[in-house]
Amino acid sequence: MAICPNRCWKTLFGLKQALAWALALLLAQAALAQGTLRVLTWPGYADADLVKVFEAKTGSKVEVTTIDSDDVMWQKLNKNKANDFDVFAVNTAELQRYVQAGLVVPVDTSNIPNTATQLPRFRDLKGINGLVHGDKVYGIPYTYSEMGLIYDKQQIRSAPTSIRALWEPRYRGKVLLYNGGSHNFSLASLALGNASPHQIGPAQWPLVVDHLISLRRNAQGFYAQPEESVEMFKNGHTALMFANYGSQQVQLLRAAGIDVGYAVPQDGTLAWLDCWAVTRGAKNTKLAEAWINYLLEAAPGNALLTRQGLANTTSESPYLRAQDRLLWLEPVENADRRASLWERILAGDRANKVLAP
């Protein structure tokens, strides 16, 4: 060794570096490979093939649970203080409930390098209501959609221009609605001309409940999942549908061979932006962040666009038009109250019974 030339030392140093890198990589892999990632999400956000790729990459196992309403998601996460799941997809308005309840932990964006590929307006997290609390980021934007009106072109010749079309008696028994209390209250409030539909004042409740009951009386039925809405639309000869999942449902209906139109009424169309958040019960936050990072890659982003008909955050949406006036979801005045009242309305109670204490 005493006569080892300079070059030899260099090689050795290079080897050492390579070894260190390899070791670091292995350790990172080992850290990720620990156990299972429990994902709570919406239909179409975590297709089996995409999950498999992630599992292969990290050596982990992913358990996907899908929900079809904000209320069910809240129940599931609240039930065991968010210990049953690691990462979940939630809209910006709902996220604030979870932050206040302490059910989520901040996300370390440096662990999600793919955020660099997002459009500038999605990287400006402070510019989006509800994502940042005291300098800490709680959600990474993933996908978004307006909740417009889907109509059967055979039955409705010209596109509806107002959400009030859902109440029109001529569509009685042919209106398909979403089974979600919070959104439906906002929808009714909006239809009543309320400028801030997310805040229903104490005096407004009877009016809004009445309006929801009359909406129910106009309904063919209530769906929960996008696929279910397609079946009900097809089998029940639906004329008009409130598209809670927006363009995702348009895509599915068209794929099912139904000639539908999609309207974004200008008197107020609600819209949501879903983000990924990490729960306080997350067993492996690194793995949860790796999951978020993976979903911002090209393949999952493309799957959102082409399979689900949903926008992603790395390219401009082909579905939204600049002139569309959207009302982004905001935290509601009392989500629990909306949920319990909605249960009664859905079960068929009449107004005095719905509002009974």
Partner: protein, 579 residues
Amino acid sequence: MKFGIALKLGLLLAGVSILASGLTGFYAYQASRSLLVQSAKTELLTTTQVLARRVTLSRNEMSRDLQVLTSNPAAMAVLSSPNTAQEDPLAALFESFMRANPTYFQIRLVSASDHGLERVRVDREGDRLIRVRGDDLQEKGHFSYVSGTLKLPPGATYLSRIVINHERGAHAGLEQPSVILAMPVSAADGTALGVVVVNVDLKNVFATLAADLPKDFQLFFANGKGDYLIHPDASQTFGFDKGRRVLVQDEFSATQELVEGKVQQAVVEANDGRYSSAPVLAAFVSQPVKVSSEEGNFVLGLALPLSNVLEQANKLGLVVLQLVLGLCLIGILIATVVARAVTRPINAMSVAVQNFALDHQQAAIPALKRHDEIGVLAHSFKQMQDSIHQQLEALQENREELAHMARHDVLTGLPNRRAFQERLEQALSRAQRSGEHFALFFIDVDNFKSINDRFGHPGGDAVLKIVALRLVATTRKVDAIARLGGDEFVVLLDNPTHREDVVHIAEKLLESVRSPILHRGVELQVGFSIGISMYPDDGRTAAELMARADRAMYAAKDAGRNGFRFFNGKTHPTSPTPL
């Protein structure tokens, strides 16, 4: 340890018998096992089909109940008038049906008008039946069991999807797996004025249906897409309601085609996943829903622990095992006997051969009476033994003859010089020990050359023979006579008492041999000269004695032949020589 043929042969035979019986047993067990499994599969499939028919029959019974209820005049009366007075008798009817059928959670009469307002409703709550009235009645027009049923012709049954009932206020049925059956209440013109709706407790229905199945049967029930509705592990049911679907085709991959509608039945042996420790045999049938419904098909399955099926096979296996073990034992026994039977004669023969080799005694050969290969071997061996024995005897005779020839004169048969030398040595040593005397006569035929010349060698030989005979005849048995060669004879006189005895014998000898010899009709007169030496007076060694007797003999010849002379005395001519 040495492996003898017996052990090797025994092991081979035993091995073959064990292998043969083992293989037979194994294949018999395999065949009977697969037969049992096959028949169990058929039986299980039949049971499942019977159960599926019972599901349909049970649904038919419910349809008949609905027909009774919808055709009851009270139902029509309630729907045609806003008056609530008509409702009580109908409620009583509902209650009697619910008491009779514990699987009903709820029976309702729902109006087509008033947004599907419930008019008469009886709910089950624990053991009680609750009549729901007034403001508690709900509008159900937005549920497809109302809107869907209203579109049906009179008497047709609507069957809902099977779900967990989340309808608030459903009492006992709330959050329970239920299926809703409904039928329109139609006016005379066929228009539906309302519907009668029955909420059925799914668990209860299947508990009743499966009540008489044996305890270890496991029941599976899934909707047309494969979502479990009933499963031995309750956590696997209604996965779609919990956000994580659990499908029959994921657990039993053979049911994939069943769910896809390609086949109507499937029988599987499941031994992975939750069945890895306790494999099951399962039969699934696809049952179409024959009434108006959002559900297309149902998948019904029954599983039976494979161990139950194989219990019989295992019993049989035990019997087969016992048989195999018995056969093996018999095989080993036979192998031992056969091995011993084969090797015993071989061993006996080898003992005989060993004995023969040791002492050339002709031993009795075993197995000579056998007619098999061993018999042939024994005969061959016997022949070999006989032949060796004969050759040995011949050899012995030759040897004895040779030994005789080595010590005797061929012509006269008298001992030769060599034999006489030994005899002389013996006499010397005996005489030295006992102090006895003996005398040595050296006898030579006088003028033997002239006899040969005159009568040829045969003549000489004849003379010598006769001389030998006469010498033998004249001497005692104890005295030794030998021919030393040519015409020379010696006689050893053992222990003569006196010198006069020796003289007497010498004279007798001379007299005996001098008598005429008849040869080819010619009388020959042969003379002899005898030289005598005496022990111990004339010498103490054989050579001395021989040399002195020889010298005495020549002295006798010199003295005129045909006489005898002691070494230390004069020649005694006895008679004139005729030659």
